[in-house]
């Protein structure tokens, strides 16, 4: 029975650095307020002409290179995004073409900020079932397209970027490298994070989302550990969606995972929705905080409300 594992990953951040002071010129806020309440020091904004597909392509290329594969080895492309400029053609088909991937299965997946973990789960399932051999999974967002720049409760949080991973089969006799997904939704609370219609801007009930995230998600992550046969103590790195540093630290504390094992890319990346988990993973690798062969715990959550978690072996 084939298992699945992550072969390589990579991230892309746009060039433009936007500081808290920059945003304090737009709305009534301050560097101190943003750092203490959200944890962000700076974030990146895509150029006006830079698209979700552009960012997805950049991250995708890095992940393929990191995996040691060629584009021609990829037969499935899944792009998790909730901010594409157009509904069609899909970002996945566009990016596949640009990367020189030949006729892969290609689809976009919208599970908002939970998207990357959903997509890794879907890719792993496809590889195990034999529907694909090597899947390129990308989380790519241009959240700035959907911001109300007069709403200081949201425009200081969200940012742009992309991250990607290649999922492939385990070798003969190799143990499973992507644990079973624990995913779910709370549609009764869907009204708490919304982008209305085709032209709406993102609004959220931040306090309610904070309450939900700090209470409902630690059990999900724990269950993902249990299903993967690891304890939180064995988790070498915890990579939660980078929604808010207070949420990240509250969940890590509930799981008993030491702060130095917790991804905190939000500090320089902001909240990039479905790009945040793979970007945070890439940042931890750059910081030398990942240990190849050890289990890492991913947890993504957000609008829907949706959530997903799985344990993966660090490549």
């Amino acid at each position: 029975m084939t298992g699945a594992k992550i072969l390589g990953f990579g991230g892309y951040q746009p060039d433009q650095v936007v500081t808290n002071d920059d945003l304090a010129k737009l709305v009534e806020t301050s560097d101190e307020w943003i750092r203490t309440r959200v944890g962000i020091q700076e974030r990146r904004f895509a150029r006006e002409d830079e698209t979700v597909a552009d960012m997805a392509e950049a991250a995708g290329a890095k992940a393929i290179a990191a995996s040691g594969l060629e584009p021609s080895d990829i037969d499935l492309v899944i792009v998790a995004t909730c901010s594409p400029e157009s509904l069609m053609p899909t970002v996945a088909a566009t990016v596949a073409h640009r990367l020189g991937i030949v006729a892969p299965g290609a689809y976009d997946l919208n599970a908002a900020c939970a998207g990357f973990c959903y997509a890794v789960g879907a890719a792993a399932d496809s590889v195990r079932a034999g529907s694909a051999r090597h899947a390129l999974v990308i989380g790519a967002e241009k959240m700035t397209s959907w911001m109300d720049w007069s709403d200081r409760s949201t425009c200081i949080i969200f940012a742009d970027g992309a991250g990607a991973a290649v999922v492939g089969p385990t070798a003969d006799g190799e143990r499973e490298g992507i644990g079973p997904i624990v995913w779910g939704s709370a549609g009764d609370q869907g009204h708490k994070i919304v982008i209305e219609g085709r032209t709406g801007k993102l609004t959220q009930d931040g306090q309610a989302v904070f309450r939900w995230a700090t209470t409902a998600l630690a059990p999900v992550a724990l269950e993902a550990c249990r299903r993967a046969g690891v304890t939180p103590a064995e988790i070498s790195a915890f990579i939660p969606h980078q929604a808010n540093l207070r949420i990240i630290e509250a969940i890590a504390k509930k799981l008993g995972i030491p702060r130095d094992r917790v991804a905190d890319d939000i500090i320089t990346a902001g909240n990039t929705s479905s790009a945040s988990v793979p970007l945070a993973l890439s940042r931890m690798a750059e910081q030398g905080r990942l240990q190849p062969g050890k289990p890492a715990l991913l947890l993504a959550f957000g609008a829907g409300l949706s959530y997903a978690s799985q344990v993966v072996t660090v490549p």
């Binding site: 309440r37 306090q207 700090t214 509250a250």
Partner: protein, 79 residues
């Protein structure tokens, strides 16, 4: 539960969540001005209080609870 017991339980929670020493948690203490506790920490305190005292403190109610005594009174009245 007596008010004293609620206060002691609340002081424990506040120490755990905000790091404020329990002896600084006096009834008159204002969360924002005296204890430097913001609205996000108030949510965490409310959730912990729900676990400890079995009393739900919804978000809409939280903004009216400005002092430690406000919370003690709320918990006492609801239990």
């Amino acid at each position: 539960m007596t008010d004293q017991e609620i206060l002691a339980g609340l002081a424990e929670i506040i120490e755990e969540i905000a790091g404020t020493p329990a002896d600084e948690v006096t009834p008159e203490a204002n969360f924002v001005d005296d204890l430097d506790i913001d609205s996000l920490s108030m949510v965490e305190i409310a959730v912990a209080a729900q676990d400890k005292f079995g009393v739900e403190i919804p978000d809409e109610q939280l903004k009216d609870l400005k002092t430690v005594q406000d919370v003690v009174t709320f918990v006492s009245k609801s239990s």
